[in-house]
Amino acid sequence: MGKDLLLLTLISLPLIGAAINGILGKRMPKLIVGSLATMMVFVSFLIGLTLFTGLDKTTIVHLFQVAKFEDFTLDANFQLDSLSIWMTLIITGIGSLIHLFSMGYMSHDEGYHKFFTYLNLFIFSMLLLVLGSNYFVLFFGWEGVGICSYLLIGFHYNDAEKGLANSLAARKAFIMNRIGDAGLLFALFMMLNHFHTLEFVEIGKMVTASPELYTGIAGAITLCLFLAATGKSAQIPLFTWLPDAMAGPTPVSALIHAATMVTAGIYLTVRSNFLFELAPTTKDIILVIGIATTVVAAFIAMRQNDIKKVLAYSTVSQLGLMFVALGMGAYTVALFHVTTHAFFKALLFLGSGSVIHAMSDEQDIRKMGGLSKLTPITHITFLIGTLAIAGFPFLSGFFSKDEILAHAWMSSPIVYGILMIAVTMTAIYMFRLYFLVFHGSFRGGEKLKSHVHESGLSMTIPLMVLAVLSVFGGILNLPGIVFHDAGHWMSHFLESTTYGLNQIEPEHMDGNQSIILMCIASAVALSVMTWAYITYVKKQAVAKEDADMNAWEKLSSNKLYIDEIYQTIFVQPILWLSTTLASQFEQRVLNNGIFRLTSAIEASGNYTRKWQSGFLSSYLFWMVMGIIGFISYYIIKSTFWN
């Protein structure tokens, strides 16, 4: 079986699954529906593995030509190279785990088959996104995942009390993504105008062949691309949709809003690295925005009381971290963090999902506590996840984060300092979350406590697998300085696609420095951990009510009031404009103006009629007047004409 065919099957399997479930799902038993969907994704994962092992060089599969226009063609091509296969593995791997998890999690939901249809569709469009060999196919996937995310966020639209909120959140996500998409479109247009193609490889060739030609346009293109990235990957200014997107079922949050879709922005940037390399300004902008996002999100996360909201903001913050890496040109490092983040954030989300499942859909951490005994597996795995994200030594998060920090240190100590603050805050809110949920005494009342239970296997197995991954994930890209020959395996693997780069390899800095950095990081993690333990377990401190918060805490718990600001700056004016235009201009000027005109014409009939007085003498008089007029016309004309 040729590579091409394998690749196409890999892509089409989830689509087939979606089709089957979508059409027949209603009549099939839930078990079959769920396992079918899971199998589809898992099989594509296996195919992905085979392709991964057999990978040698970049291969492009031409499916068909969508349309041929005057000066450009739109092709449905797919590209198989290290980057795409890497992303594919993440998507299908994590995806199949989460499918498995959902089988248990959604078991009580009446929209079961719909859910799996959407999930498979999502996987399909995500695969389009990463496997497409040109920006056109990428855009298909890009919008496709947007739609699936819309459908899945608003999945519980007819929920009694939260239904409206869910659908509104879905709408917000879609529209904000659309703004980003517009940016992507403009990037595509500019590429079409300057390169007359959208193929990654060809553009890459052109650019690397003669960089000096394209420096100017590259800046514009990359800015647009980055706008798109901010939309999809929830960076400032378009990040507010992601926390709201937590309205979706938890597996969705795990798959789409933590592991895969939100990293599409990073994928896009890495894909177009050859352009970004020509646009230092854009890279600086990315760096700044990345830093700002990671700090802001981490700050907000510190005082959130919804378990998923905390994780959401932590996701935003981690994504910010990845963009920092991109801004510094460390593409593989960013991808490394994408990978580890996929592991532990998926783990955390699923863990929270299992918690919520156990707490029968209660998400407020103020009502939890002491779940460690009630849900042991969840507890252990969640702890691992927490440690991983907090940068506990030798867990996956530790290495990936450390790489980024090392680069930051190389570029400038200030950046490093700010990032350290963010890292510290990350540790703080994560441990706060962990201790409030799993330690101390149960605050949810006896009735709730009575039927808190550990989740079934279908949910715990993924947890365990992910836990293992988040522990050992770091092996993929060990820092070369410490483990000399084993180091940077992943970076080397991905070099072929992140070609033409001059990224600072941590080798260049001497060993002591990097070891010192590692020590600082782990020291921070450990100290925060102990501090949090004292505060939340020994002192039994619970999240405060809004009343007794100080200004900073208020700011944090109210998300810096960003939603409100957007409302007043953007949304309200447009709506006002809409109403005013409709009522004033449309009605008054256009409609009534014309109506007035017509009625005036009609009324003028009354005046013309008056001439017809009905008196014979007046008729005769006017006739004579007419003749006299004629004759005077003649006299005037004959005197003045010739």
Binding site: T598, N606, T608, Y619, W622, Y633, Y634
Partner: protein, 449 residues
């Protein structure tokens, strides 16, 4: 030539047959006579007529067409009149007789080749109409209409005669072609001639009912009966317009540019005054009168069109006359004691024939293709396009007002509230409607011959 005689004699016979007080019989006789006249006119050139030698009446191809059209329209009006006339049996024949006499006049007015025939035709055309208008004896409106028409009409005749006299005085002949030659030789700008021409033009404008000599129109149309009004709006207008165009396209063609300004003025004012005043009318016939004033405004473009004037006029008139007659017929069918437009509410909805006819005739009047009305307007406007563009644009605007007028009537007549009230029509009316429909749909095909 023989057609005139046949028609005239038929009129006389009709009067005698009328004594039998059998309106069917009378109608039959008259129809036979008209058909005979039509045929003899149609085959005019195919046989030796004893009157061939007479020079006073010459039917060129165009005039031939006009004559046929006039006879045809008269036939339709006769049919249309039947239902109405047969009410008072003893006078049925009078109507027909008068109509036919007037048609004789119309034919003279179409075929004239010297001023004698022209003048006689004009009078023979008009005098029966004076009577026809006032023939509803008991009806004070009718008598008022006839009084107004008579006095304005004879006043116009006097003016026309004075004009003729002056023209004769400055050219020294009553023969059209001689007058033309005389003018071409360059006497065209002698004051006497110009004033004569202007006076004739005034009289013509009166006959065709254009501003500022239109005043008789609305009153007379409203006062007279449907059949007579249909006849006036079709045949009389046709004959008068033809004579007008004939004069100013051939005999006076060297003077025409000189008076063009006045004609344009008449056109514009007629268009707007006609349509605007029509908007607010409640009496149907009065509204049609104003619409006819406006349509005259269109027709007058033919006067300025040396080349195709008469042909365009023919197309335009068949469209206009057929639509008008059709509408009048419908009005006759729906008319209660008054001819208030409110009677029209919903008649078109459940009477398919009426509905289709009125929709098509109204659309044709508003100048929407592919109906004859459109092609008439199109020809007239397109010929005037280069020289008189501003006037053409004004005419377009005016026709928009007209479209609004007709559209209102259409909407009123097609209203769903007429669900289920079937109007009863007798055979003649159905025939009339179908003939008119044919005229509107097929009239323009003459272009392709």
């Amino acid at each position: 030539m023989d057609a005139l005689i046949i028609i005239f004699i038929t009129g006389l016979i009709g009067l005698f047959v009328g004594m039998l007080k059998n309106s069917r019989l009378t109608l039959a006789v008259i129809s036979v006579g008209l058909i005979a006249g039509f045929l003899s006119m149609y085959y005019m050139n195919d046989y030796q007529s004893i009157f061939q030698s007479y020079q006073g009446l010459q039917f060129s191809r165009t005039q031939h067409m006009f004559a046929l059209l006039a006879i045809g329209l008269t036939f339709v009006s006769v049919l249309l009149g039947y239902t109405y006339f047969k009410e008072d049996e003893e006078h049925t024949s009078d109507y027909y007789g008068l109509m036919l006499f007037s048609l004789t006049g119309a034919l003279c007015l179409i075929g004239f080749s010297n001023l004698f025939m022209f003048f006689l035709g004009l009078e023979i055309l008009s005098i029966p109409i004076y009577v026809l208008v006032g023939i509803q004896k008991g009806n004070s409106l009718s008598s008022e209409a006839s009084v107004k028409y008579f006095f304005t009409g004879s006043f116009a005749t006097a003016i026309m005669l004075f004009g003729i006299a002056l023209v004769y005085g400055s050219t020294g002949s009553f023969e059209m072609n001689e007058i033309q030659m005389a003018l071409d030789m360059g006497m065209s700008h002698s004051p006497m001639l110009n004033i004569g021409v202007l006076m004739m033009m005034a009289a013509f404008l009166f006959k065709v009912g254009a501003v500022p000599f239109h005043f008789w129109g609305p009153d007379v149309y409203q006062g007279s009966s449907n059949a007579v009004m249909a006849y006036m709006a079709s045949v009389v207008k046709l004959a008068a317009l033809f004579a007008f165009v004939h004069f100013f396209n051939f005999t006076f063609h060297s003077v025409t540019p000189f008076v063009a300004g006045l004609i344009l003025f008449a056109i514009v004012v007629s268009l707007f005054l006609g349509y605007l005043s029509a908007l607010k009318q409640t009496s149907f016939r009065r509204m049609m009168a104003y619409s006819s004033i406006a349509n005259t405004g269109f027709a007058l473009f033919a006067v300025l069109n040396q080349q195709y004037g008469e042909a365009s006029l023919w197309i335009f008139m068949i469209g206009y006359a057929c639509s008008t007659i059709a509408l009048v017929t419908i009005n006759m069918i729906v008319e209660k004691e008054t001819d208030n437009i409110a009677n029209w509410k919903g008649i078109g909805y459940s009477n398919p024939l009426i509905g289709i006819t009125l929709v098509i005739s109204l659309l044709s009047l508003s100048g929407i293709p592919p109906f004859t009305g459109f092609f008439g307007k199109y020809l007239l406007l397109s010929s005037a396009f280069t020289n008189y563009l501003p006037v053409v644009i004004l005419a377009i605007i005016a026709s928009l007002v007209g479209a609004y007028l007709y559209l209102r009537l259409m909407v009123l007549a097609l209203s769903k509230e007429g669900e289920g009230n079937k109007l009863k029509m007798n055979l003649t009316q159905i025939i009339v409607l179908i003939l008119c429909l044919g005229g509107i749909l097929g009239g323009w095909l003459v272009l392709l011959i």
